[in-house]
């Protein structure tokens, strides 16, 4: 199966790159920082450690996968490797999906590595739910980074666009709450701004609802809410894949 072979090559490349070392360094830094902060906390030291490690590792996993996807894809573009691959008897969809599958598997491996230290503070079941959520989140970020890398064809803009999308998606609930707050004046410009914010929110995934640190501190989430949050991620990843395929098929290499 050609897509599986491509995915394997992507995984092999990730293994031979600095990605595993960077992941290990992120875990070490997160554990070190948590240990330091717990020394100065007067209470909730375990909750503090768990929350800091979880928050840092979540951000690290997402940043590492986005940077890896962008650098790997743009290296192929710049080295004309992509043109060579396209000369093979493989459809463009197979090429794109195979590559994305490899990156998504990298995200799954990163999520598993980042979740492992959390077993020190939370139950295995809760950590497994957190890890599955992070794996889906990483796959979404991989799809976004691949889309932006193919579309923008430059490393810095591709990473900046992926990071911008991610940060905006994670902050959108807070932005909406500010826009719809009771202290805001009821004027036409304000209403227009609020509608604008709501419209942008429709185009973003609800990342504030997934991979919650609260699950590790206060117990696993409600099954319905958890399934709905993950379904939102899967749906948005599908949208990014469709947009990426659309762009890739139109691309004149």
């Amino acid at each position: 199966m050609p897509a599986a072979i491509l995915a394997r090559f992507v995984l092999l490349e990730a293994r031979r790159s600095g990605l595993p070392w960077l992941a290990a360094a992120s875990i070490a830094v997160a554990l070190g920082l948590a240990a330091f902060l717990s020394q100065v906390s007067l209470t909730e030291s375990r909750a503090l450690q768990a929350s800091i490690v979880a928050a840092l590792l979540r951000a690290s996993a997402v940043f590492l996968i986005a940077a890896h996807v962008a650098s790997s894809t743009l290296r192929e573009l710049n080295d004309k490797e992509l043109e060579r691959m396209l000369s093979l008897p493989l459809s463009r969809s197979t090429q794109y999906l195979g590559r994305l599958a490899g990156f998504a598997l990298c995200g799954v491996a990163l999520a598993a590595a980042c979740a492992a230290p959390l077993l020190l503070w939370a139950s295995a079941g809760t950590v497994a739910l957190w890890a599955l959520s992070l794996a889906c989140e990483s796959a979404l970020v991989a799809a976004a980074a691949l889309f932006f890398s193919m579309t923008l064809a430059q490393q810095v803009p591709a990473i900046a666009a992926s990071a911008g999308l991610y940060v905006l998606a994670r902050s959108m609930a807070a932005i909406q709450s500010i826009a719809g707050g009771p202290l805001a004046e009821a004027s036409l410009p304000h209403e227009l701004a609020r509608w604008g914010v709501d419209a942008i929110a429709l185009l973003l995934p609800r990342l504030e609802a997934v991979t919650r640190t609260g699950w590790l501190l206060y117990g696993p989430p409600d099954a319905g809410a958890y399934a709905a949050a993950l379904a939102g991620l899967v749906l948005y990843t599908g949208l990014l894949i469709a947009a990426g395929l659309f762009d890739f098929h139109r691309r004149n290499l």
């Binding site: 902060l37 717990s38 100065v40 906390s41 007067l42 209470t43 909730e44 030291s45 375990r46 909750a47 503090l48 929350s51 800091i52 979880a54 928050a55 979540r58 951000a59 940060v167 994670r170 902050s171 609930a173 807070a174 932005i175 709450s177 500010i178 707050g181 990342l207 504030e208 919650r212 640190t213 609260g214 501190l217 206060y218």
Partner: protein
Amino acid sequence: MNRDARALACVPPGVWLALGLSLAAQLAWQGTRQPAPPAAADLPPPPPVQALRLASFGEPEAAARLVALYVQAFDLGGGNALPYKNLDYRRLTGWLRAILELDPRSEYPLFLAARVYAEVPDEARSRIALEFVYQEFLKDPNRRWPWLAHAALLAKHRLGDLALARRFAAAIDHYTTAEDVPVWAKQMEIFILEDMSELEAAKIMIGGLLAKGAIRDPAEARFLKQRLDELEARIARGTKR
């Protein structure tokens, strides 16, 4: 490390010297600029909760605890003989309230208010911290009663305000509905009225919390043990005199 790198001997002596000098200058410069611990006057007004939520990027639990550590550092370190005595408590309780709104299930702000900020030897400040604990208790009595129980003890023994202590004790009895609230807490008004020393009352309360498994955090258990020892030593000194 890099196969393509040339030998170290290929680097000109001037570049070696420049690297060494610039590194030494950086170390010397930073060595003379040790940051001072944040003073009471440095505590800024609390930001709006929505701003904190926005800055947390969807990690309110981690942000709440980091903000608690940030606030805790003000007017604490250095050669400060009486920590927190200069803090603006209105501002401080604003921060604690913002942290609680960020993560309502965190116990850190109530712990700081009841066991750290309310114990300063300044009656006005202590009352502000105790009132904060009372107001926040009303929002979630079944989870926050231990802090109000401690506030009742402080009101009786530190402030000598029996009416305030009874108000807090009565609130625990009146507003808590959970079955896991112990009998001694529900009947706290009785042992507020009894002629019991602060140490005895604190021992009953902390012992009760430990026995019930309510204090699981090692840092908190260590802190409470230290407080009990200090109380014991203070009372022993008072008896000798």
